[in-house]
Every structure is written in structure tokens, then in C-alpha cells.
């Protein structure tokens, strides 16, 4: 399946099916720092991602200081 990562934007090919938790482990990502979106829908850690799914791993950590973020 195609996995889109951001900051910087890049795409990976990962063999499915695989659980969200496993995928994050494989990519060495902390689940506190990302959301996983499968075909446009938010999915929890135990969801199984099908091999033909299109996945976005969206980082949620913003840098910077001051108001207005």
C-alpha cells in the first residue's frame, strides 16, 4: 500500500495488510506525534490497513512560539 508522509512530503510502499500500531513501529514513529488516515478516514491503533488502502501519516507536532498557531 501507498503511505504518504509529510514534512517533508514523501511516499513509501509498505506491504499490507498490517495494523496501524505495527506500521508505526515499523516506521519508528510515536503515535502521540501522528494521526493515521486510511482512505480519508481517521483510524485507531488496532485497525488493519488493507494492502490496497491509501494511507496518510499526518504529523501533528508544530514548532514555533507565540500566539496564533
Amino acid at each position: 500500500m501507498k503511505v504518504l508522509l509529510r514534512n517533508p512530503r514523501r511516499e513509501l510502499d509498505v506491504a499490507g495488510p498490517i495494523s496501524v500500531t505495527r506500521l508505526l513501529q515499523q516506521l519508528d514513529l510515536n503515535r502521540e506525534s501522528v494521526l493515521v488516515i486510511s482512505d480519508g478516514t481517521l483510524v485507531p491503533g488496532d485497525a488493519t490497513l488493507a494492502d490496497d488502502a491509501s494511507i496518510e501519516i499526518r504529523p501533528v507536532i508544530s514548532g514555533g512560539e507565540g500566539p496564533g498557531r
Binding site: 509529510r6 510515536n30 502521540e32 506525534s33 485507531p44 514548532g63 512560539e65 500566539p67 496564533g68 498557531r69
Partner: protein, 331 residues
């Protein structure tokens, strides 16, 4: 995974609450957290008008949406920072959000009004971009809130932001900053009341809120943020959170509920001159606490003739513009 409330399929798991939620119950959870924090810290009282600091990112748009959902009368203010494409795209998200909901978004553009932008200000002052940026935003938001007669100015600082700032200030024992790091700061000395209604929500939760509410926001990171200390602190805290869910919340709320008063005496008598940890997110009136005087040019609170923003305008306004530095690769 099943929703803790309705047993329907969950879309998100929140280890720190040992709970999973469906979309509806997650949105309700977010509203409850905000409502509760507004009440517990006496941030707003019914009928008050709120100015929301809007950047086009997830936190400020979630905040604007949540305050509206909870019935508050709000306007937004967007500050054009002139950070290349990043600012253009961010402004687009803010404008679209406001237009779709019939909300009023005021705008100030640094380049158009003050003849500088953040990359140029950073180059001229030879400090990290977030320093000139935080200073400019604080000044413009404060001024707009006071001039517009708003009862409070709301910012989208979330639990991760506040925990990271606290962590940085504890590491350096920044006594004055520690004494001022509260979810609400009262109005006074020319400052508006400042409230942070998202401090009970993590960044992952505000992002999930936007996704589930169909709010499009700027997902890309500001190119000037690379190497920012806060990012490192957030990573460290999230690693602790992964091992021990609830760490960020107990760190921050333990401080706010039990420790901040111990530092209060230092709060308004702290270091002046902007040295030390420039922790914008926790501040009030920059690195020097609340000055008693007023700027002779713009009337803002100031500790010398000119406020820090007017001094920045004098240095950076009209300077040769510099291009936006390319983002550094992060994993």
C-alpha cells in the same frame, strides 16, 4: 476498538484517558474539555466577545470552531508574516474557514503595513525567526484586542505546547516565566486578558478534531521552525508519554494547580532585556514581564520610550528582503 460511550466503532484511541471514541463522542469530548477549562480557570463569562488569534494551522482553527460551537461570539485575526509560500497557503486556510462559516477575519500584513517580513527581521536582528515572529504576533494581537474592545484574546496553545514550554523553563529555572505560565492572564497595564482554552487537548487531539470536523488546515510545518527548541522538548515529552500515558497532563496541570503560585512573586519582576529562554508561548509582554510605561509611538505597554515591536520596525522596516531559508529535513 469500540467507543467508550456508545460501543460503536472507534476512530481514535486516547491512551492517557484509557478511552477510545467514535467520531461523535470524540467531538463531544473535545467540546467538554474546552468548556471545562474555560469554567475551571474563569477564562470567559457569558456574553463576552473574544478575539481569536488565527494562523491557519490546526490549533487556531480548532479553537475558533470550538468556541463557536460553545456559543461564544468571536472574530479572528490573522497576521501575514511574509514567510513565502507557507504564509500564502496558511492565510488561504484561515480565509476559507472564516468565509465558509460567515465569521469575521481581520488581517494585518507585516510587509504591507510595516515594510518587513519575518525572514528579513530574523536576518537583521540575527536571532531565531520565532523570536521576531512571536514578538510581532504578540504585539499585533494584543493591540487588536485592546483597540477592538474585545473582552479577551484567545490563542490555540495546546497541552503539548504548554508542557514543552514548562519543560524548557524548568530545565533553565526561568523563575519569572514560571510565575506567569498560566492558562489565563488577567487584563492590565494595557494588555488584554489572554486565554488558552485548548490546554486540555493534546496536539494529536486538536488535529483529529480538525480531520473529523472537515476543517482543512496548514499541515506543512513553518520552514522557519526547524531546529526550534520546542520541537525537541515535544519529542522528549512524547517519548515519556508513550511509556507512561498521562505524563504531559500531570506535568502541566500539576504545575498550574499546585506550583505556579510558588513562583508568582517572581512573575512581574523577572529578567528584563530579553535574554535567556525566549519562550514566547508562555509569556506576557515578551521576555521582560509587564512593563509599566507606554510606547511613545504606538501607545503599547513598553519599558523604554519605544516598545519592542516599534524598535523591531525601526531595525527591520525597509531592510533588503531576504529569501525564506529552505526547511531542514526532519523525520
Amino acid at each position: 476498538m469500540k467507543c467508550k460511550v456508545c460501543r460503536g466503532p472507534a476512530v481514535i484511541d486516547l491512551p492517557r484517558h484509557n478511552a477510545n471514541f467514535c467520531a461523535d463522542h470524540f467531538l463531544r469530548y473535545c467540546r467538554n474539555q474546552v468548556e471545562r477549562v474555560i469554567h475551571d480557570y474563569a477564562m470567559l463569562t457569558p456574553g463576552e466577545r473574544v478575539l481569536v488569534a488565527v494562523s491557519g494551522g490546526k490549533d487556531s482553527l480548532a479553537l475558533w470552531d470550538l468556541l463557536g460551537e460553545l456559543g461564544w461570539e468571536t472574530d479572528g485575526l490573522y497576521v501575514g508574516l511574509g514567510i513565502g509560500d507557507y504564509s500564502d497557503v496558511s492565510g488561504g486556510y484561515a480565509r476559507r474557514f472564516a468565509a465558509e462559516r460567515g465569521l469575521r477575519l481581520n488581517e494585518v500584513d507585516l510587509r504591507a503595513t510595516y515594510d518587513f517580513d519575518i525572514p528579513t527581521a530574523a536576518a537583521v536582528t540575527r536571532r531565531v525567526p520565532c523570536s521576531a515572529c512571536g514578538l510581532s504576533k504578540r504585539h499585533l494581537f494584543d493591540a487588536a484586542a485592546v483597540d477592538g474592545g474585545y473582552d479577551a484574546m484567545a490563542t490555540g496553545h495546546n497541552l503539548d505546547d504548554e508542557a514543552a514550554v514548562l519543560y524548557g523553563n524548568v530545565l533553565r529555572w526561568q523563575m519569572a516565566y514560571l510565575g506567569r505560565q498560566r492558562p489565563v492572564l488577567p487584563a492590565g497595564n494595557g494588555f488584554p486578558r489572554k486565554v488558552k482554552p485548548l490546554v486540555r487537548l493534546t496536539e494529536r487531539e486538536t488535529a483529529a478534531y480538525c480531520v473529523l470536523r472537515g476543517i482543512d488546515y496548514q499541515v506543512e510545518e513553518c520552514p522557519m521552525a526547524a531546529g526550534n527548541r520546542h520541537l525537541g522538548y515535544k519529542e522528549v515529552l512524547n517519548e515519556m508519554e508513550r511509556r507512561s500515558p498521562g505524563t504531559k497532563s500531570s506535568f502541566y496541570f500539576g504545575f498550574v494547580d499546585r506550583a505556579v503560585d510558588l513562583f508568582a512573586q517572581e512573575a512581574w519582576s523577572g529578567p528584563s532585556g530579553g535574554v535567556g529562554f525566549d519562550d514566547g508561548a508562555a509569556d506576557d509582554g515578551g521576555a521582560s514581564g509587564r512593563p509599566l510605561g507606554h510606547c511613545t509611538r504606538c501607545g503599547a505597554p513598553a519599558e523604554s520610550d519605544l516598545c519592542a515591536f516599534c524598535r523591531l520596525v525601526d531595525r527591520a522596516g525597509g531592510a533588503q528582503p531576504v529569501p525564506v531559508a529552505p526547511p531542514r529535513r526532519r523525520s
